[in-house]
Symmetry: C2
Subunit: 133 residues, 2 copies
DNA sequence: ATATTTTTGCAACACTGTCGCAAATATCAT
DNA sequence: ATGATATTTGCGACAGTGTTGCAAAAATAT
């Protein structure tokens, strides 16, 4: 995937900031916060611009915001439109999409209508559990 | 369940604020934020006290914090220690525990260790879907 | 190249959550 | 009940996140 192509596909003006933000997001499979993006971009654009870009990319469905118990929002490229599970490591703090496994269908009680899911498993990631040994 | 008994069980000093906060939480099955508690308690105690109480009740396992994509933390009485699913209604905004259904076991990839889960389903709740008709 | 539209940076803002500290309150031991 | 001790509270200050209005800047369309 290519940052410039995505912007043109979604009819978003191709500005320097947006290209760089998207390139950072495309480069990693770990969810990033605005703050983390800002340090990676070394102040190439303003906080407000990053927030605005994250918001529009989310509404277009290019990235998605991961629900966690923390107050800082984290965003990651959406590789598949399907429901999937997120994993948060308590050791390294990284949050990523687990695309391999599929969340089993849960049957909601009568009257409830599902729109989307936000499944998060908290634990120790592969890398951190290997480093312990 | 009784607020005063809970405090004594967990060896927490029985202060007016704590009793009132717990009573509010026991009274509803909808997750509440600090802000919502404050308005319900009509300023019976300080913001900081509410935050501190929510924190200690969470660490004792009396209540739990629900992970959502929003930045405000919501807390609800923990009725069961088991994994369960939360439901957030996009219409009325309410968040509640779905204790009836059990999240099916997902098999994590090699090397990943699960500690806890945070499953959230977003959609329309029973009450709101009935009101539409 | 110019006109039009969109986006940016800045500053200000509201809000959430945390912390130190002195005063207030609760608990404990007589 | 009284006083000693331990815990909690309210207050104010603070850091951090995310949003917005607005003029300047940049991108797109003509
Ligand atoms: Zn890890
Ligand atoms: Zn994901
Ligand atoms: Zn509803
Ligand atoms: Zn719950």
């Amino acid at each position: 995937m290519n940052a410039i192509k995505i912007l043109s596909d979604y009819k978003m003006s191709r500005t320097n900031g947006r290209v760089k933000i998207l390139e950072e997001l495309l480069m990693t499979d770990v969810a990033l916060s605005e703050r983390e993006l800002q340090t990676r971009l070394e102040g190439i654009c303003d906080r407000a611009t990053i927030y605005r870009t994250l918001k529009s990319l989310t509404s277009k469905g290019v990235i998605h915001k991961i629900a966690t118990e923390s107050t800082v929002a984290k965003f990651v490229i959406k590789k598949t439109p399907d429901d999937h599970i997120h994993f948060k490591c308590t050791d390294c703090g990284r949050i990523q999409c687990l695309t391999g496994i599929v969340p089993n269908n849960v049957k909601l009680p009568e009257g409830y209508i599902k729109k989307e899911t936000n499944f998060l498993i908290i634990g120790i990631c592969k890398e951190c559990s290997e480093n312990v040994q």
